[in-house]
Amino acid sequence: MAEAVFEVFRGDRKGGQPATYRVPIAPGMVVLDALHHIQAHQAPDLAVRWNCKAGKCGSCSAEVNGRPRLTCKTRMDALPLDKPVTVQPMKAFPVIKDLVTDVSWNYRVNKKIPPFEPSPGTEWKMYQEDVDRVQEFRKCIECFLCQNVCHVLREHEEMEHFGGPRFFVRVAALEMHPMDSRSRTRMLKEDLGIGLCNITKCCTEVCPEEIHITDNAIIPLKERVVDEFYDPVLMLVRKIRGVKQGSD
């Protein structure tokens, strides 16, 4: 039976290094299967997050041969087996143990976002063409791979000033919901720091749900912020009428 050699990061907050494991390969096997094999036969304490093993829950994110992936959807037959397969935890988040990282920052950002708020007396009629766009955003499985590859978070560690692609997608889903009545442009600009995104599209490339994060979520939101805060004509109108900028 064919065999693959794995180099899997073992360690915790204090540090660590890759450990080598040899795993037999079966047809259709994915990297997560190999990690489970290692747990069952060689390292029962190897820490891995996973739930559905079907690409629906977004738990098993890691970096396979340096590429951020869902390990449940990364097939062994798509990887070169003439050299070791490396599996590392997501780099943008602090390691807890082995492949498990501390993603709690994401949950804290999420709490800042003003929730869905329909107008009073809404008649609940919506047409498919009006919800298509938002349904794309709601496909997000919160694997946080987009957060992991975003330069603003991964290299510049701007966690304090930036929300990251996942939460621009979430805000876009609320802003473009046909029944929502709130404006979140001020918080996009000030709390989520959307201006820091320089649209390199790294997030879009890694999205396992193939959400067009940059084109369909971030750019339209940036446009809303610009319209609201930097449009010279609107600024003049506001000045004359005395309307506060970006009021909710």
Binding site: P27, M29, P44, R49, A54
Partner: protein, 572 residues
């Protein structure tokens, strides 16, 4: 030994953060209770995200003749009349309001041409009834409930596992558990506890269930003295993936058949004509699962031991729009383009109809202060669940459990926690570290899965079930001697050692109940007792702990009132 632990106080503690747990939390919050939700994984990853096809609710948006009565009748017939009729009635009556509420909290369902929530056909449902979002309805539901809960301020304890319920006399008083991250202990004091822990599929080898589905809620409730009901009724979903081996068991949504998918054997025969000529592919799950299993056993299976499921007669764009995750799943994991050719599918352990016995109106169990909802509870689905009735179950009875738990909490003062129970729980947790050179929990889990798969599967007989009980005894004994390597820091082997105890308890409950029921009904098929038995049709099996012994008795199925009896008997 003095155990170190942190303590948290809640009026209502909810164990599990899937659809039922989150809806229960919202229900309890609405009553002004202080609510805590504990979940084994991160918030939003619970098994509900894997639900694909839709939420069954008689909204009559597509078929205007639909109403709660028809939904009730479909549910009772699907459950082979073993259902708790009052639960089935409440469920059918309240489901539409629960769906509308989700929409008002921001969920975006697929739409009809006139702007209403679109509904699709599903097995056993007379009308097109399932409100859906493509084939990712569960994700939409859990995100909506999660966002609402976060907004209203529920305390969520993520990656935290409960290993024992604490009691004060006959009343639940709290729960003992541990944080996965550091392995530290945690104690909850609570006036009411809601079990929303889902199912037990991980005791079988081929399953659509995630690692979390180890029956902990049922085992914890059983240990605390609660009755378990209908444990013999384990649903094997007819269509799981069968090839390649790495993906065996992953769910292929019933929506494929709902959208017109056709089943064939290797001879090209549309074999459902033999098993249910009227409903064909949209027969109930028990019937379709047995049909596929029988075709394979009799030599008409596909190359990898399944049946062909084909939706490629529909336009490719339609398939990609209505079944996007199935399209990607087969393309990425099996190199099959489902818009061009058939999928290979076979039965996979999917859902537990049985569970904690509850009161229909309030979801309370037989232990004071303990409630249960969703898959962890029994009664609504009887001997077989209809597709789509699970998501609606979570909403309807999750809400009721949350309301009743909060009301109960309002009536009592805080219950004291006995430190002896805490010390016991801690000692039990740490024991696997102290034993050296024992077996790995992974080996025992693998053997348990083999046992349940081979001896307590779709078709059962007396000899197999007796052998299964013997095997389970041996496994239990081995589990008592296992040891765990490494530290308490995020240690999956240690966690599995805890989960194994729960799986062994529920596996024994399933096997005892299956051995007792000498008939075939719904998902329970006895080769040695192939037909329905009228006497068994009036009884539910109950499992209850007496000392350390698992005991079984029967209880009468609640009799339908005359008007509902007539309703069920009517031909539609």
């Amino acid at each position: 030994m003095t155990t170190e632990f942190e303590t948290h106080d809640h009026d209502v503690l909810i164990i599990g953060a899937g659809g039922a747990g989150l809806r229960a939390a919202l229900g309890a919050l609405a009553q002004g209770a202080k609510v805590g939700v504990v979940c084994k994984s991160l918030l939003g990853k619970a098994h509900t995200v894997m639900a694909e096809g839709g939420i069954a609710a008689a909204m009559a948006n597509v078929d205007s003749a639909d109403d709660w009565r028809t939904h009730f009748r479909d549910t009772m017939r699907g459950g082979k009349m073993l259902n708790n009729w009052r639960m089935a009635q409440i469920h059918a009556q309240e489901a539409p309001e629960r769906v509308r509420e989700l929409e008002q909290w921001g969920a975006l369902f697929d739409r009809t041409e006139d702007g209403q929530i679109l509904q699709r056909a599903f097995g056993g449902h007379t009308f097109r009834r399932l409100c859906h979002v493509g084939d990712r309805t569960g994700l939409e539901m859990i995100r909506t409930l999660q966002d609402r809960g976060v907004q209203l301020g529920i305390d969520v304890y993520m990656e935290c596992t409960i290993t024992r319920l604490l009691k004060d006399g006959d009343h639940v008083a709290g729960a003992f558990g541990y944080w996965r991250e550091q392995g530290r202990f945690i104690v909850f004091r609570a006036k009411s506890i809601v079990m929303a822990t889902g199912g037990i599929g991980k005791a079988w080898k081929i399953t659509s269930n995630s690692w979390e589905y180890t029956g902990d809620g049922m085992a914890l409730a059983y240990a605390a003295g609660a009755e378990l009901m209908d444990m013999e009724f384990v649903q094997f979903h007819p269509t799981g993936m069968v090839w390649p081996p790495g993906v065996q068991g992953i769910l292929v949504t019933e929506a494929v058949r709902g959208e017109g998918g056709v089943l064939r054997n290797k001879l090209g025969e549309r074999f459902m004509e033999k098993y249910d000529p009227k409903k064909m592919e949209l027969s109930t799950r028990d019937v379709v699962a047995r049909a596929i299993y029988t075709e394979v056993r009799e030599g008409r299976g596909t190359e990898h031991g399944g049946a062909y499921l084909d939706i490629s007669q529909k336009p490719a764009d339609y398939v990609k729009k209505k079944l996007p995750s199935m399209y990607h799943q087969f393309k990425e994991l099996a190199d099959v383009d489902i818009t061009k050719g058939p999928m290979e599918v076979g039965p996979t352990c999917h859902y537990m109809m049985g569970g904690i016995r509850v009161d229909a109106e309030t979801a309370k169990s037989s232990v004071a202060g303990l409630f249960a909802a969703g898959e962890a509870a029994a009664g609504l689905h009887g001997a077989n669940r209809l597709g789509g009735n699970s998501l609606s179950d979570l909403l309807v009875f999750g809400r009721r459990a949350g309301l009743a738990a909060a009301e109960h909490a309002g009536k009592i003062s805080n219950t004291p926690i006995d430190s002896g129970q805490i010390e016991d729980s801690a000692r039990e947790m740490l024991a696997p570290f102290e034993r050296k050179n024992g077996e790995s929990p992974y080996t025992i889990h693998r053997d348990l899965q083999e046992t349940m798969q081979n001896l307590v599967g779709i078709f059962r007989n007396k000899e197999d079930l007796i052998r299964a009980l013997e095997e389970l005894e041996k496994l239990k004994e081995r589990a008592g001697r296992l040891s765990v390597e490494g530290s308490r820091l995020f240690n999956p082997g240690w966690h599995l050692a805890q989960d194994l105890k729960a799986m062994l308890t529920v596996s024994a409950a399933v096997t005892h109940s299956a051995l007792a029921r000498e008939e075939s009904r719904g998902a329970h098929s006895r080769i040695d007792h192939p037909g329905l038995d009228a006497t068994w049709g009036t009884k539910n099996n109950m499992i209850v702990r007496e000392g350390s012994a698992m005991t079984l008795r029967q209880s009468a199925v609640p009799e339908l009132p005359a008007d509902l009896k007539q309703l069920v008997a009517e031909e539609k």
